[in-house]
Amino acid sequence: MPQKTLRFKIHQDGRVEETVMGFTGNSCDEATKNLEDALGKVTVKKKTSDAFISNQIENLKKLKNESNVTF
């Protein structure tokens, strides 16, 4: 049961910085799509470091499955 966290910084001019954490796979994009649509236009989007890490783990798992090697 991982905890999902949304963190926002709403600037004085209305610009919003959003950090989305604790999601698996691509579900983080789904999680905030409605909100982003209602807010306006996404100008910058990047995967954060833990997304990179979980990607690495997924890649490793994939490699493991594909190569059919038991560790």
Binding site: L6, F8, Q12, D13, E17, V20, K41, K46, A51
Partner: protein, 130 residues
């Protein structure tokens, strides 16, 4: 996965815009459907307000930008903050209201809210996965 996004806020949803205006203490005038806009020309608006100093302001849906736009006669602007500041206050509050209502629908709870010295609002929401 996680992500980091920057979003430029547009006033897209009427309900949240009304809530934002009410929250800032600018009550909507239900009767008035026209506001003097550019060059004093009366313009049909979707929302209108009387700001202090008899300054009349409206918001009109714009199909090009797909958002509500401000309508006012700048020559008659007597409110104590400049029009740009007024619009950013409304936009910031709109973003706040939209975040609160959309995340609530999805079952998130506010765990932290801070007004920072730079005038920004910080919010943290969490939800436990089922």
């Amino acid at each position: 996965m996680s992500h980091f996004s920057t979003i430029k806020t547009h006033l897209k949803e009427k309900d949240q815009l009304i809530e934002a205006l009410n929250n800032l203490g600018y009550p909507i005038n239900q009767e008035q459907k026209f506001v003097k806009g550019y060059r004093g020309k009366f313009t049909a608006v979707d929302l209108s307000m009387n700001l202090p100093g008899e300054t009349k302001v409206g918001f009109k849906w714009d199909n090009n930008s797909n958002a509500y736009e401000l309508v006012t006669d700048l020559d008659l602007w007597k409110f104590d903050i400049p029009v740009e500041r007024f619009l950013s206050k409304v936009t910031q509050m709109y973003a706040y209201q939209t975040i609160i209502s959309k995340t609530k629908e999805d079952g998130y709870q506010i765990v932290e809210q801070k007004n920072q010295n730079d005038g920004s609002i910080e919010l943290v929401m969490t939800k436990w996965d089922n």
